[in-house]
């Protein structure tokens, strides 16, 4: 039955099926244009470069939240590992950025010598520069491709994909579901961050990779311009990611993954290869997260293992839950809203609240407020901020009083048809 109705929907163009797509892309374009006009690099300079960077980073966080929503809100897999994929993306691009920039510096410093430097001397020089902080002076094997931008860009996609594929295959194959899967993904994240914390992991231990905001070869371009470039790239990635997610969740494929979320066993009995669907979603979202990370960290300037720790992935789940899971724009709203609010509160801009007997300083108490409001959202507003749009939509659409669209109890529900 669901196949039949899904087939009927597929004939319609994507935009008609998912009207919020056009609105979203339009708003994103407007936002990007607006920021560009107001920026220091290309416009009238109302918005500072650091705030442009914050906005660009927020767009990347929206992209990873989108991935989280797809895997959790639509497919029901509460993954606590997507920030690890995000971090891996950052490390992959960071390796090239750091290598290429250090190479320029080393070549420059060797240029004054009597003999032209050999390839080995340059490589030794770079290695000493990069790994001096962890007491090493040789390139670990993991840096074998760091000299090449295309290969590291491929790693941004392939490493998270491969990790997700292997981990997902192992987990889904043995039917680990629900909270067990969450704990398992959390353990994976913890293992990865602990591994990276070691000095001999080959990725500079807890120093992480730094100086990523300086693009090699573009030393003359001011950061105000670079920040806008990254904003454009992030907006483009978010737009394309949104489009891809819409394409996935609408149509028959989308129906199947929602069905897996609601009753996995039933879908399996209908003959669908549940594991393959889950694996696809898990891997695809890992790739999205990797790309988001690769765009985020050059704007942040530094990536270190603390960014991969399980708590980061938990915050990701918090954003999606507050924004409203199970709807793509909800994830974007949640990530943008909570992360910008977070920046505002922890940046010390929020005014202190004087209670008479004590003063609440938001730098200290913001996390408490966030945690408690998260509990409140889970308890009282499971739809999150996105649920507010339902109130508007409910006024417009014909009211079927929640009746099923078809004759029997298994038919598509009104709510589902509107998604």
């Amino acid at each position: 039955m669901s196949e039949l109705s899904a087939g009927a929907f597929r004939r319609k163009p994507l935009v008609v099926q998912y009207p919020s797509l056009l609105i979203f892309l339009g708003l994103l374009a407007l936002f990007t244009l607006g920021v560009t006009v107001l920026s220091e690099g290309f416009g009238i300079g109302v918005i500072s470069t650091s705030f442009v960077k914050t906005l660009g980073k927020t767009l990347c966080l929206c992209l990873v939240a989108l991935a989280m929503d797809l895997v959790w809100g639509y497919c029901g897999i509460l993954s606590l590992g997507h920030m690890a994929f995000f971090g891996i993306g950052g490390y992959a691009i960071g390796m090239w950025l750091m290598y290429a920039r250090t190479e320029l510096i080393v070549i420059e410093s060797l240029a004054g010598q009597a003999l032209p430097p050999t390839a080995q001397e340059i490589s030794d020089g770079i290695a000493t520069q990069i790994f001096g902080v962890v007491g090493a002076s040789e390139f670990p094997p993991i840096w074998a491709f760091a000299h090449s931008l295309p290969l590291q860009l491929a790693a941004v996609v392939l490493v998270p994909a491969l990790l997700a594929l292997v981990f997902g295959w192992l987990a889904f194959r043995s039917r680990v579901t629900g909270v067990y899967l969450s704990i398992l993904t959390q353990a994976m994240t913890l293992a990865l961050s602990l591994y990276l914390f070691q000095n001999d992991s080959g990725l500079r231990g807890n120093n992480g990779l730094s100086g990523l905001q300086n693009l090699p070869g573009l030393g003359d371009v001011p950061q105000s311009v670079v920040s806008v470039w990254f904003l454009w790239a992030s907006a483009l990635a978010l737009g394309l990611g949104y489009l891809a997610c819409v394409a996935i969740v609408s149509g028959k494929f989308g129906s199947v993954i929602r069905a897996i979320r609601d009753d996995e066993a039933r879908v399996r009995f209908l003959g669908y290869p549940v594991e393959a669907y889950k694996l696809f979603i898990f891997t695809f979202t890992a790739i999205l997260a990797g790309i988001a990370g690769a765009l985020y960290y050059p704007q942040a300037g530094i990536v270190n293992p603390a960014e991969i720790a399980p708590i980061a992935s938990i915050y990701l789940a918090v954003w999606v839950a507050i924004g409203g899971r199970g709807r793509l724009y909800g994830a974007v709203i949640g990530a943008a809203f909570v992360s910008l609010l977070s920046t505002w509160f922890t940046g010390g801009q929020a005014p202190d609240v004087n209670l008479g007997f004590a003063t609440i300083q938001w730098v200290d108490w913001w996390t408490v407020l966030l945690g408690l409001s998260f509990v409140a959202v889970t308890l009282f507003a499971p739809k999150g901020i996105g649920g507010l749009f339902d109130l508007i939509a409910a006024k417009r659409s014909p009211d079927r009083h929640g009746a099923d669209l078809g004759p029997d109890p298994g038919a598509l529900r009104e709510k589902e048809a509107n998604e």
């Binding site: 704990i183 996390t367 509990v375």
Partner: protein, 654 residues
């Protein structure tokens, strides 16, 4: 009048004292001192040795006094006669002087006539070493023990004689055993004949003491020698091939170079320097400088330079190989004569096997204590998660709350034993209330929605962690164990376990017993099991499921609080301590099998043993050990998704 007589008496005493100096000079100890008088007065560390030795080995009864007074800077020398006395300062300018021979008072004299001997700290140390032999027979056992300590720290050949002389008469059995052992150790080092040394070495067969190994190891030291002709003789341990692990080829070649049997290698850096030195008009030996950007080009240029004789020729790879093959490399014992070295090597290998076994035992104890910590952290979860099926991500924060309760109690109660006794029930009370509040306010609305429970408890965990940080700050707070838990239970030099770990182990066992008792022997346990299996049926039997859920959750949380106090004693109390254990605790429960306390016990043992085992393989790196442990658990769950002990039948469905 009286005053006059006194003056007269003092003057007479002075007059009478004068002949005493003459008498002193005849005493053998004074003769000895005078003989070395100039060396002693010079007081230089380089030359003082013979004087101290002569005094120490003189066999004179007064030698000890002389050395002691000298060390204490109380020895003075008469500037005119060159005789030595010891003296006390009466006031700034006057001395009361004593004779070394009979320690009798000679009289009072102005200090202008005497020069104080002030040995520097190096010389005082040498005097101290010489004094050891006197201290060994001192009536005070503590002083004898100090002397033995001094010998252990810095043994000398003379100590051996002293030890042998005094070992028989030692009355204190502990000191006698120490003396006997030390005598054997010193015999190994300083024994005169090989037979004597070998016998001493053999006596340490299977001995686990660090001192025994420290004494034996230098004996088996070897060095590599190179020879063009085959070498024989007992001191040759073995022939080694260049390029093997014991002797890398570069080291072998360096040996040849040192022995001037082969031309030196020219390093890349040397080559570069040589090339730079020979740049002429932008060229090196006819090759453009700009072209020297590769190693091959540099080699060529260097070879061209060598051909013109401007630099030393380089050894080529093939030549190195050929040279290495013409020579033989031997490992030779350098620490001792071959017979002694062989005996030492034999005994050492036996000791090492035994050490390995003991290290295994020590590792086992470590693993056991780690397992009991994980068990403590996990047992509360075994109730809330295992029995009730509620995922409580704030469990780690309950552990933290328990630990901070202990810290706060110690702020008010300074007696550590008492404060721990108060802290344990108080921590239970605090976390029990927190658990009950959480169950009432949040969790009961989310039963049967495990993912939501997980998220909501995450929120609480974040908030609790930050609140703790705001109240107590980010720095670690101490939770001090009572004095009787300090120190450790020492089996031998290798195997030991601290009392605090034993206490944690005992506590874990107590909790296991408590859990089993509550679950299987009490009304509460019966009702808990009934509610978990079928809440509706339990309700119709007159059990109030709400109340039972609340109490069970509170019980699990309360145990987490007590575990927090125990873990706080072992590690530091920080706001993040709970988060450090939460993943491992969940792993322990999941690996063991949800819903079965024996499974949790097995899980904790597995996780603890595994982590210690991996640490043993890679001892420098506990982070790596945790990483591999988690990876192993992820794989383990692939093969036993329901844990070691999987529930079967209806219980599994609940």
């Amino acid at each position: 009048m009286i005053w006059y007589f006194r003056q007269l008496a003092a003057g007479l005493a002075c007059l009478l004292a004068l002949p005493a100096f003459a008498q002193q000079a005849e005493a053998p100890i004074q003769a000895l001192l005078v003989e070395y008088g100039d060396i002693i007065a010079k007081s230089s560390r380089k030359t003082i040795g013979p004087a101290i030795d002569a005094l120490a080995n003189s066999g004179l009864p007064q030698a000890q006094t002389v050395l002691e007074r000298w060390q204490a800077k109380e020895m003075w020398r008469n500037k005119e006669t060159g005789l030595f006395v010891f003296a006390e300062e009466v006031d700034r300018d006057t001395l009361r002087i004593f004779d070394f021979n009979d320690e009798g008072e000679i009289g009072i004299a102005p200090d202008d006539d005497f020069k104080q001997l002030k040995p520097n700290s190096g010389i005082r140390g040498m005097i101290g070493a010489a004094l050891v032999q006197f201290q060994l027979i001192d009536p005070d056992p503590e002083l004898r023990a100090t002397a033995l300590d001094a010998i252990e720290r810095d043994p000398e050949e003379s100590h051996l004689t002293a030890l042998r002389a005094t070992a028989q008469g030692e009355g204190n059995p502990v000191l006698a055993a120490r003396k006997e052992r030390l005598e054997r150790l010193l015999t190994i080092r300083f024994g005169e004949t090989d037979d004597e040394r070998i016998a001493a070495i053999r006596s340490f067969e299977g001995d686990l003491g660090v001192d025994a190994r420290a004494t034996l190891n230098p004996l088996v030291a070897t060095s590599v020698v190179v020879s063009a002709t085959p070498l024989g003789g007992a001191e040759i341990k073995r022939i080694i091939e260049p390029g093997s692990e014991a002797l890398p080829r570069s080291d072998a070649y360096a040996l040849l170079v040192d022995a001037e049997m082969a031309p030196p290698l020219v390093s890349r850096e040397d080559k570069r320097v040589a090339l730079v030195a020979n740049i002429e008009d932008g060229q090196v030996a006819g090759i453009e400088v700009a072209a020297l950007g590769t190693e091959a080009a540099r080699d060529m240029a260097y070879a061209a330079l060598a051909a013109t004789g401007k630099v030393e020729p380089v050894a080529e790879e093939t030549e190195i190989e050929k040279t290495l093959q013409t020579f033989l490399f031997y490992e030779r014992y350098t620490g001792a004569s071959p017979a002694v070295a062989l005996a030492a090597a034999d005994v050492l290998s036996g000791i090492e096997t035994k050490v390995a076994w003991n290290q295994m035992a020590d590792l086992g104890l470590d693993a056991l204590s780690l397992a009991s910590i994980y068990f403590l952290a996990a047992i509360g979860l075994a109730i809330t998660f295992g029995v009730m099926g509620v995922i409580n991500m704030a469990h780690g924060e309950f552990i933290m709350m328990g630990a901070y309760t202990g810290y706060v109690v110690q702020l008010f109660v300074t007696d550590y034993t008492l404060s721990i006794l108060i802290a344990l029930p108080l921590a239970f009370a605090v976390t029990f209330s927190a658990g009950v509040a959480m169950e009432r306010l949040v969790i009961r609305w989310l039963y049967h929605r495990p993912l939501e429970t997980l998220l909501a408890t995450f929120g609480i965990s974040i908030a609790l962690q930050q609140i703790a940080k705001n109240i107590f700050g980010t720095q670690a707070r101490p939770l001090t164990a009572p004095g009787w838990l300090d120190g450790s239970l020492v089996f031998n030099d290798i195997v030991s376990i601290s009392y605090i770990r034993i206490a944690i182990f005992v506590l874990a066992l107590l909790f296991l017993a408590l859990f089993l008792f509550v679950m299987n022997r009490t009304r509460l346990g019966l009702e808990v099991r009934a509610v978990t299996q079928n809440p509706r049926m339990a309700a119709s039997m007159g059990i109030n499921p709400d109340k039972i859920n609340m109490l069970t959750f509170g019980f699990g949380s309360g145990i987490a609080g007590i575990a927090g106090v125990a873990i706080g004693l072992y590690a530091k109390v920080t706001s993040e301590m709970g988060a450090d254990y939460i993943v491992q605790a969940f792993m322990t429960v999941v690996v063991g099998g949800v819903g079965n306390i024996w499974g949790t016990l097995l899980g904790a043992s597995l996780v603890g043993t595994l982590q210690k085992g991996i640490e043993w393989l890679n001892p420098s790196n506990t982070l790596a050990a945790q990483t591999y442990m988690i990876l192993f658990i992820i794989l383990f769950i692939q093969f036993r998704p329901r844990g070691i002990i999987a529930l079967k039948g209806r219980a599994a469905e609940a």
